[in-house]
Symmetry: C3
Subunit: 109 residues, 3 copies
């Protein structure tokens, strides 16, 4: 058994949850912020057999991979019109930080 701790951006969290359920992985989710990723993220705790870790990592990568996304311009609201960018901007979104931890014992009551 391994305990996989995955920190995932909130915008990818629901998609990853669904993918985990479809593939019979069970996860506990904790709301978290900052640091590894831009703030607003979810920390998944997933206990799994060692032989399923590669499949689980594939699922995380496929659903949370860091990628560029075009963001539509937001018109300035009562603010600094100098900072207004009148065309879509490419920003990096997503990404996951994953730790695979050894487990000495696993129990289910």
């Amino acid at each position: 058994m391994k305990l996989v701790v995955a920190v995932v951006q909130d915008q990818d969290s629901n998609r990853l949850s669904s993918a985990l359920t479809k593939n019979d992985f069970r996860a506990t989710k904790l709301a978290s912020t900052g640091g590894f990723l831009r703030s607003g993220n979810t920390t998944f705790l997933i206990g799994t057999d060692e032989r399923l870790v590669p499949q689980l990592l594939d699922l995380i990568r496929d659903n949370c991979r860091s990628r560029d996304q075009l963001v539509a311009p937001v018109s300035p609201m009562g603010g600094n019109a100098d900072s207004y960018i009148p065309y879509p901007v490419e920003v990096e979104v997503g990404g996951a930080t994953v730790f695979v931890l050894p487990i000495e014992k696993f129990h289910h009551f």
Copy 2:
């Protein structure tokens, strides 16, 4: 030292907290959801000496064990009367998922 991570249903969380305190275990609690257990659960982090792990697991099992419970019927509220069940139903409640992790170093400042 071991780090025991226990995911426990919310309805058992306060009883487990009290039992841990009475037995001199110190726990940090994190609100969590989904996955291992029906949503609405609490993740306990408990650092403890290796020799106390069996006592701790007993406490978790005794306070969080999965069991059947009779749930009184709830009268339908402005809803689908077809789904109304006019007698108590047995549902499974409780249960805990527990990981015992090795610790390389423990510090208290």
Copy 3:
């Protein structure tokens, strides 16, 4: 790689966050309560190279060390005037509980 789990009082949490960022450590923060420390604390998850663990522990100790603090008297509000203490009181604040966990694999997507 190690995963450092640090439970820190809320009043030291922002200062530690800033110190971590200045020193190029990336942390995920989870709101937590009780147990190891008086309730209202933050659990930091920090992945780092083994050789940086001593520097990280120094940062945590320097920013969260348990210390005595004078607390100004609070005048009783509609309450028991018998319990009013008309002079500053020294209370212990701060403190951190830190677990260093081994990591088998670390991934960043």
